[in-house]
Structures are given as C-alpha cells and as structure tokens.
Symmetry: D2
Subunit: 342 residues, 4 copies
C-alpha cells in the first residue's frame, strides 16, 4: 500500500531533506508540495538536486486537496505552522517540524516564543516527537511535534542518565556546536559564506536559546522535579551536524553502562566504546546518533558527547521515523542509508 | 538471490563509497574486505561512519576464500591492482577501480604510467567501464576497468558530440575542476585542510594528466582518427564533485539537441534546459550527471558543462552500476538515492 | 603630511578592506565613513574585526564635510556611485571602486549595464585604474575608476601579450574561478554558506558577464582592432581569490619571456618560473599577482594562469595603490604586507 | 638599528607566520632560516606565498653563524627544541615556540610529555612567555618559552578572575574549539581536507591534553593553591582561530568589570561590551584577543568567551611581541595589522 504524502513548506532545507528521504521510501508517494512564495515553480527550479524526481510543482496550501492525503508533513516557519495546522482537516495525520507544538504548557510556549499560541486544541493534542522515548504515543497520535534539532541532541545525551538517576541534576552543562543548515534558508548576513566560513562563535548565550524550553519540559518531567541545564550553542562553519559536549557529575563507567542498556536494540543509536569521541563527520546525511562517554581527570566528572545530523535525525529523518510509526510502516523504512563520508 | 561481494582495498575513499552503496543494495552481501596495512582492524576503526554495519574486519588479500565470492571490486592503488588481479581466479568477476586496465594499448599504458604492464592477458580482456557507452560489453565481461573520474566527466560531455559529428575535433578545450577526494586518502602536504581550503590552483598542467590517455583512446576510436583535446585540471576546496567546462566549436542548439537524443531514457544523465549551468552542489553523493549547454557570444562556439560526484558516478557508483549489469541485476539497483543538499 | 580620507559605502567588503589597508598606512587618516542604511552604527557594530580602530561611526553622505577631505574612496553599489560622484565637489580627488566609470564609451556602458549613464562629464574625465598600465594618467587624475576584479586578473594575464603581438587575438579563452567575496555582502540564496560551500558552478555563461565590457575596451585599444575574448566565470567555495586560466595560441617560452620583460621591476607582479602554476592560496590578503606560463602538449598552445586576491589587488588594494599615486605617496605604501597562509 | 634574526624550523606554519610578521617589522632582518629536511630549498619552494621576499634559502642549523644573530626564534618540534637550544651559544637571545620550556617543574614536564628533559639548565632559566602577565621578566630574559596556543587562550579568559578572586576555583570548565593549523603541518589522516572539513569532534578528551600542564602550573601559582580545570578541546573545520568557552561560577558583571580593569591599556586585548560574544572571524591573522562575558539564566554562573588567532597571538605574534621586549623595541612593533575579514 502506498501512502499519499503532502509536504507543506517544501522550499526550505527540512522540506528538501524530507523529499530526499521519501524518494527512497518504497511505500510513500508525494502528491503535493507547497511553498507560498515559490508557488508555481518546479522542484527543479527550487532544488536542482532533486530535478530527477517526477514530482508536482510547488503550489499554495489552499490549492491542495487534503482528502487525497494520508499524511502531511509541515515544514513551515514557526508561528505560521500553528495557524495552518489549526485549519487543516481534523482527521489528517500530521508531522509538524516547526517549534509550534513542542511545548505542552501554553505559558511556556508564550514565554519562549513571545506570542500567545493560536491553536491551543492542537497544542494539547500533539505528541512530542522524540521517537525513541515516545514510541507508543507517536504510534497512536494524529499530530506529532518534531523536536528541536539541538533539543534532540541534548536529550539523547541526557535522558537515560536522568531516568536512571546516575548524574547530579543541578550540574549539567551542555556546550553545543551546530552547523549552519540548522538556521534554515534565511537570508541573513551572518549566514553568508563569506561571513560564516573560516570562523566560529557562540550565539544565544546566557541561557536564551528557545530549545531550553524543551529541555526544561522534558528533563523536569523525567526527573519529577525542576531541572534546568546550562546551554550554550555555537555556530560552526559546516553545513550539517550537531555535536553536544555535555559536562555532568557522575561515574563515567556507570553512565556508559546506562547508555548501553537504554539504547540496546535501538536501530539508530550507536553507543561508542568507552573513552571514544564521536564526530559529526560520521553521521552526515544519515539518521544515526553517535554517543560517547569518557571520564575526566577530575574524579566524579564525566563527559558525554552526542553527534547527529541536524537535518536528518535532528529534523526530517526523525519526522519520517515518526510518520512510519503513524502509518504502521516499519520504523526504519527509508532511513537506513549509511552516512556520506568524506 | 544474494551475490557475495569482496572489496579489495577497502580502506580508501572509493572502498568506503562502495561499502556505503552496497549497504543499500538489496541483493548484495559483503563477505570480505581487504586492507593490507590495516588488516585486523574493524570497519568501525577504519571508517567510523560505517560502524552501524555488521561487516567483516579488514583482512589481507591472501586470507580471502574467493571460491565463496561472486564478484570482486578492486579499489587498490594503480600498479598494485594489476599484480593482484593477475593472480586472482581466472573465472572471478572483477570490477577494477584503478587505472590499470583502462588503456587497451600496452604502449599507451607504459607511456602514461611509466612502467610496463604486468598483466597483459587481463589488460586485453578488460572492458572499458563507461556504462552508458559500453553496456553490452560490460554485461558480457568478466573484468571491467572503471574509468578515471575526470575521464568519465569529460566523456559524458563529449562522446555524443564526437559521434554525431557536430563539433570541430581539433578545437576542444576541457577546463576541469575537481574536489579533493579524487586524490584519495594519501598523506600529502597539499591535501591537508590548512593547505587546501580557501584556495585553488591548476595542476598537471600542459597536457600531462594521465586521464588524457583515456581521452585519446576513446575519442580517437569514436572519431575514427586521432583526436587530442587540451585538458587542464584544477583542485578546488571541496570534498566531492567534478565540474568540466568544455569549450567547443559548433552550434550550441544542435549540441543540446544531440545530447537530448543521446541521453534519452538514461536513468542517471540529466540534460538541463538550454542555457542552464549545472553545479556540483546538485549531484553530491549521487550517481547522477548534470549536463548543460550554452552558446557563447562568439558565433559558432558553445560551452558544455558536466557535473558529477567523483566518488559516486565517477568511481564507485559507476563500479556498482557495472556490477549490476555483470550480475544480471537491474542496472539502477542501489543507485537511485537523491543527492545530498545542502 | 597626513592625507584626510573619506570612504563612502564603508559597510561592504571593499569598504572593510580599504579600512584594513589604510589602518596600516603611515600617512593617511580616515575622517569619514558613510553607510546610508547603517548610518549611526559604530564600526565595531558593522565590522567587529575593526573594533580596535579609533574611527568615526558611519554617517550619511550628506553629513560629510568634504572640504576637510583630501581623497574620497567610493565603494558604493553600481549606479548609485555615478549619482553620488556627480554631485561631489568638482575638485575632490576620488577613487571609485564601482563599475560606473570603467567604460569610456557611454554606449558600451549602457549596453552592459542597462541604463543610461547619469554622470557623463565625470565618465569622460575618469581614468581607468589598472595601475601598472596607467600610472602616468592616474598620477595626474582627479577621478580614477577601479577596474573589475575579474577584469584586472584577465588583463594581467593578457595585456603584455597583446601589446607584444605574441598571441593569436581571435583565439583567447579565459576560464576564470572566483571566490565569493567578489559578489559582495548581498543577501542572496546562492551566497549562503549552506548553498555555496562544498560545490562550484559556472555563472554568467555564454559571454554575458559585464566585465567583458572592460576586456573589449582595453584589449581592442591595445591591439588597434576589435578583440573579443571568450570568458566564463565560476564561483568557487572560498572567500578570497581569483584564478584565471587563459588558453592562448602562441609560443609558451616567448610568452613567458614577454611577461618577464613587461613586469620587470613591478613590485606586485611575480612571474613564476616557466611551467609553474600559481595558486590563490599564495596571494590571500595581499596586493600581489602571481603569474604562470606553461606550454600545452599541443604545439603552439600555451596556458597562462594568473592569481590575485579579488578584495585586495582586485579592488581595494588597487584603489589604495592608485590613491598613493594621486597623493604623491610611494606607490607601495601600506601595501607590502605578505599574504596570509594558511 | 636593525636586529639580525634567525628562525629555526622555518618550514612549518609558525615559522611561516614569523616570516610574514617580521617582513613587516621595520627594525628586524632575517639572516638565517633553517629546515633540516628541506635544507637547500628556497623559501619560494617551501612557502610560495612568501616568494616576493628576498630571504636566504633554508639551511641546516649547523650551517648558521650565530655570532651574526641578535635573536633566534625556535619553531622546532617539541623535544627537538630542547636538544638544539641546549647547544646554542649561551648568550644568544632565544624565543622558543615549542612546548619544551613552558613547564618549570621537570617532573611536570616529564608527566605531560613522557620523557626526561634534556636541557634542565635552560628549562630553569626560561621565562614563561605570556606577555601581558610576564612583561618585566620577559624584558630581562635571555630565553622565553612561548605558551601553548590553547593555554594562552584559556589564560586570557581566567587569569584576572583567579587573581581577583571573583570565581570559584573548583568549578571551571573550559570547552575549547580550535582550528586545524594548531596541529601543524604534519601528515596525518585526520588533518586531510577530505577528513576534516564539514565536520567536528572533540579530541584529547578526559583531561589528557598537554596544555593542562600549563593551566595547572599557572593557575595554581596565581591562586596560591592547586587549581585544576576541566578542559576539552575540539577540532573545527577552519584554518585559524581558537574560541574558548569558559563556564565559571561568579557574578558576571563583576567578572566583566574585572576584565576591564585588568586589561585597561592593553594594546591587543579587546574586552567586548557586556553580553556580547566574540568570534574567531574577527581576529584572523591578527594579534588581537576578543573577550566577552555574559551571565547565564542560572544565578551565579557566568560564561567567558575568548577568541584569538592560534598562529598569531597564540604563537608567532606572541613570540614577536616578546622579542620586541627583549630587543627594546616598541612592544607592538610589526603587530598592529588589522584582522583579515572576510
């Protein structure tokens, strides 16, 4: 059986990544691609690397016949997404890649995003899309909210440790390095090649990055009490990849063993041998997470490092993984491609 | 039916690319991986990006039981390859990725490579591996010689034009730009990141690049008289991709029409609309070739531009395409993945 | 004596490069920096790398007291520049970095730039700013028109050969590779890091690049008859550098000797030993031009390769070199810094 | 007066950077350049970007007449350096760029570097070369030991805070990101462009990096009691630049004020306005340090970020700054060039 798929917001990087992945999925067929500002353009014009695919041209959302769609991916900008999803058919399966449905508490949403939520009913209904930890809920969900890419990386490095109680909850520092595609296809001076390449810097410093909202929500729920991590993201001159270096207090060997237990049998999570450091080089273009643990020379401290591709496992790959569950497909279908190196 | 595959020289970039591709092939199983200097190392140690695959550790070639192998890819260095292949079982199907069996004339081989050929019988037997132009021969072959990656790019841009007689054979200039993975995993100062990034230069200038041997052989055979092109390669600070800018004399519209006819139905060759320029950005990690034609402001001159990924279509993807033919698999099996962008 | 300098359009890359260079000049003092859209911002806000300099904030042009200015650099966009310069004091020394005054013939200007020229008197007065070939005129000029960066590169590789009559004027092909800063600080999708890095492509194909206007004007004047070259620029994933690979007909050794004679004593032009290829790596951030000549395997053909930094020798360094002449400073003052490598 | 300068180990990156800087120094003349393996080669062959300089070819150290040398820079590999310096004339002024004389305690040296020190007398004599904190000792020294580039960065971010007692000495985490030129011109697989670009990773994890020896020595001496920081370096795909993100406990505003006081009047240290984050983009090729402070959302925590160019301020620029002091030159002579951006 072939599932009919629509992608809203197909002219951005997560849209392109969805198309790339779905093109290799045996049981999905893309029937509609939207892009408001680029409506009417062919895919070859918007993304020449996808020119070999026989797909519909971009259209406006209001031109789509959703009765013909089994599942809809929304790769729209934040805020736009909630307005669009609110008005989509109430029985349409949706995987949203924006930030709009990640935070369950409307007050938390408003605090981090600065506006009142415009689709409260859908927000309440949405399931948080970190597949490995919400499998059952996602399988039963109509609307799944894809996680932030940084938020996903940090959670892979911390959730099992918080659940197992093997680290000090008040001493977590997350120094994160992310590639530029995480910022999307937006025209900003600091994203120009001439400005970005050959240098690097921190941004959203001082605990102001919005993905902290997700960390607070998820870690506190896991721990059963408020958990607030320290989080500093850095922009690195590369296109894909997130590396999270997480400083924790706990016994490194116990932390490593906790990961091995927690991720045993997970098809996409590779726990490296103790003491090895993962690299974003080795997950590019794939749905894999590489996870390493080492002890520090200071007793009782450990370093956890997680690497993933922000566009794949951090966003569109995760979205497809969730869609597979929602459509009763094999969870890994279309997602087992090996990373691209070099 | 699953074909048993060995890869000799699996610790280089073309070896890694073969493994990446074959991992996605439904009917191939890798049973042996050789790497003389790294024998005993696991694949995770040699190529951490492939650590999720359940594959044998690297071994020495003399440890492989070839009676259990249906097809062998040789990704060994030039000169080593001929010595190894000479001594492999005489009925073993082989796709060689080195330069050793590309030139049919032993004198030409010696001229370009500086040594007498050590496997003359196999050299005579070998079929030139440019799939789109040697399909029948490859399907019937035991030993196929993969083309040079630059040589492949230039031929996609010129063969149909020479065959159709629509360009001046004495006025062909091929200005080629290639990425660094074409130089392999060799430890040379000019391949270091600090030396290579942020700048670019020509190399093998003055008509000294070895791939000229292939151009001379193939173009002269096609034309039925000697054809000698002018060819200058440049090293560009990127990891994958070849862009060939070819200056020819002829009517641009006729050239474009010639390509459309010649490549009609070809699954991997995309002829762009007249006047559009392809980019290596749009073929990365894929087996596609993008081909563009434009006229110059000077009458009677045209510019043909071809783009492909040197490790995929220029080398390992081509090799798998040929192996599919030799094993009676669908030619495109395992090769239809979309390019990775960004 | 200290010359008082104004820079109009100081918020772009050529503006920043001018400031960097002038900061190291012993006899120049920047007294005004304009930037219409960023007026009021400090230099530290616009260009944090210049924050150590004690310089005025950006202002609007109409706020500048030009009676206090000895020389004005105009780094404004094309078309804006002519309107501004037309209205500047008639005795103010000006070095313009835009394209507005490069073409002497108003019809040629209109053909290549698509609009009638708005400052015909100044256009007639302007001297073409390729220092090594217009020294006397520049020394005596009030208004100097900086050359196109591509145009400069091509001319260094061809002018002495055309003058000396050692190449075939009808068989010149200029395949040029340029870095992204040549496109300026403009917000375009294809200049984003995620779009530009890791790939490359031709642009302005088919003889449509505006710098052809300069080639036509200069080469035809030199030859005393129309000369039209074939010119294809490519965009390379690097920030600085232009490499011109020029295919000519002539005796390579004679060409090399011609360069050695023509550039003898030139402080910024390095003619490499015969057969060596220059690289943009080796001129980055400097005012040097590296020039190489080699013969092809085809008799009577030669390849000339020129490398320079588009922002320095191709633009702001050239501008300062010209300003030195106009102000009776030593021509090399502030310009002898060695390239930055790696 | 012109000082005669020798550079030992001139074929590496710090050697090249020294030559670049000294070429712009009005009162220094390079009289000898050594390079054992490349002895006999001209500078143009070893570093084509320096071909415009009229300098001696590389020679062996034993060919240098040190009686004609006023100051000698040693840019030799670790361990070689101590053996060479031990045997140089006892009254020769020396600035060493290796790790050999940084640690005052021979036991600490042996612990971090794995071998007994071969020049104990010189080790005792050497002055630690962090100019801003050892000015008087350096001015009076015969032998100055350049600091590690990572060690310098971390110290700029921490020394004033430790001295002023405004941070918790047991809670310092230093997450450092460095560019590839810090690894030198060595032929290692992970330094190849194809392996390094487009990805990033931690290395020397778990408190094993040798620069910890310097941190321990210096911070403990400052504090008057043992101080052990947690330090994790990361390798970033760029050629120049170190960014240190330092997590401390203390009041951010007090920390910022402490920096402003401590670095007031320092020509090379730029303390950014409170809350701003520095970037390695803005110090490239210069001797400047950019330093930023911000508070975290968690009370009592602050983040200090320091950026510098590892080859300039982190190594060769620092060395020249020290040589200026030793030769009674102005400390900033030859070092005030603005950074290169883009």
């Amino acid at each position: 059986m072939t599932h009919k798929i629509a992608i809203l917001g197909a002219s951005g990087y997560t849209g392109a990544e969805l198309i790339r992945l779905i093109a290799g999925h045996p049981n999905m067929e893309i029937v509609a691609l939207s892009g408001e500002r680029k409506a009417g353009m062919t895919l070859a014009e918007v993304f020449p690397h996808l020119r070999h695919l026989d797909l519909p041209a971009l259209c406006r959302i209001d031109e789509i016949d959703f009765s013909n769609v089994d599942l809809c991916f929304c790769a729209l900008p934040h805020k736009t997404s909630q307005e669009v999803i609110r008005d989509l058919p109430a029985d349409l399966k949706i995987v949203d890649l924006s930030a709009d449905f990640r935070l369950r508490d409307p007050a938390a949403y408003e605090k981090w995003y600065g506006n009142a939520h415009a689709a409260l009913a859908q927000q309440e209904e949405a399931v948080y899309g970190l597949t490995e930890f919400y499998r059952d809920e996602i399988s039963a969900a109509r609307l799944v909210a894809g996680t932030g890419c940084n938020a996903a990386t940090g959670q892979f490095a911390l959730r099992p440790l918080i659940s197992a109680g093997v680290i000090d909850l008040d001493e977590i520092i997350l120094d994160l390095k992310c590639a530029v595609s995480g910022a999307g296809r937006s025209l900003k001076e600091n994203l120009l090649h001439a400005e970005l390449s050959e240098g690097y810097n921190a941004y959203a410093i001082g605990g102001t990055h919005r993905h902290l909202g997700e960390f607070d929500q998820e870690f506190s729920a896991l721990a059963g009490r408020p958990v607030r991590v320290q989080f500093t993201p850095h922009l690195i001159p590369a296109n894909r990849g997130i590396l999270a270096t997480v400083y924790v207090r706990g016994e490194a060997e116990e932390i490593h063993a906790t990961f091995q237990r927690a991720y045993e049998g997970e098809p996409f999570i590779e726990v490296l041998p103790f003491g090895e450091a993962p690299s974003t080089h080795h997950v590019r273009g794939s749905n894999f997470v590489h996870l390493g643990v080492t002890s520090d020379r200071i007793n009782g401290r450990a370093i956890v490092i997680a690497a993933l591709d922000n566009l794949t496992k951090g966003s569109s790959g995760q979205a497809l993984q969730n869609a597979n569950l929602m459509l009763r497909e094999k969870e890994t279908e279309g997602l087992m491609m090996a990373p691209l190196f070099p």
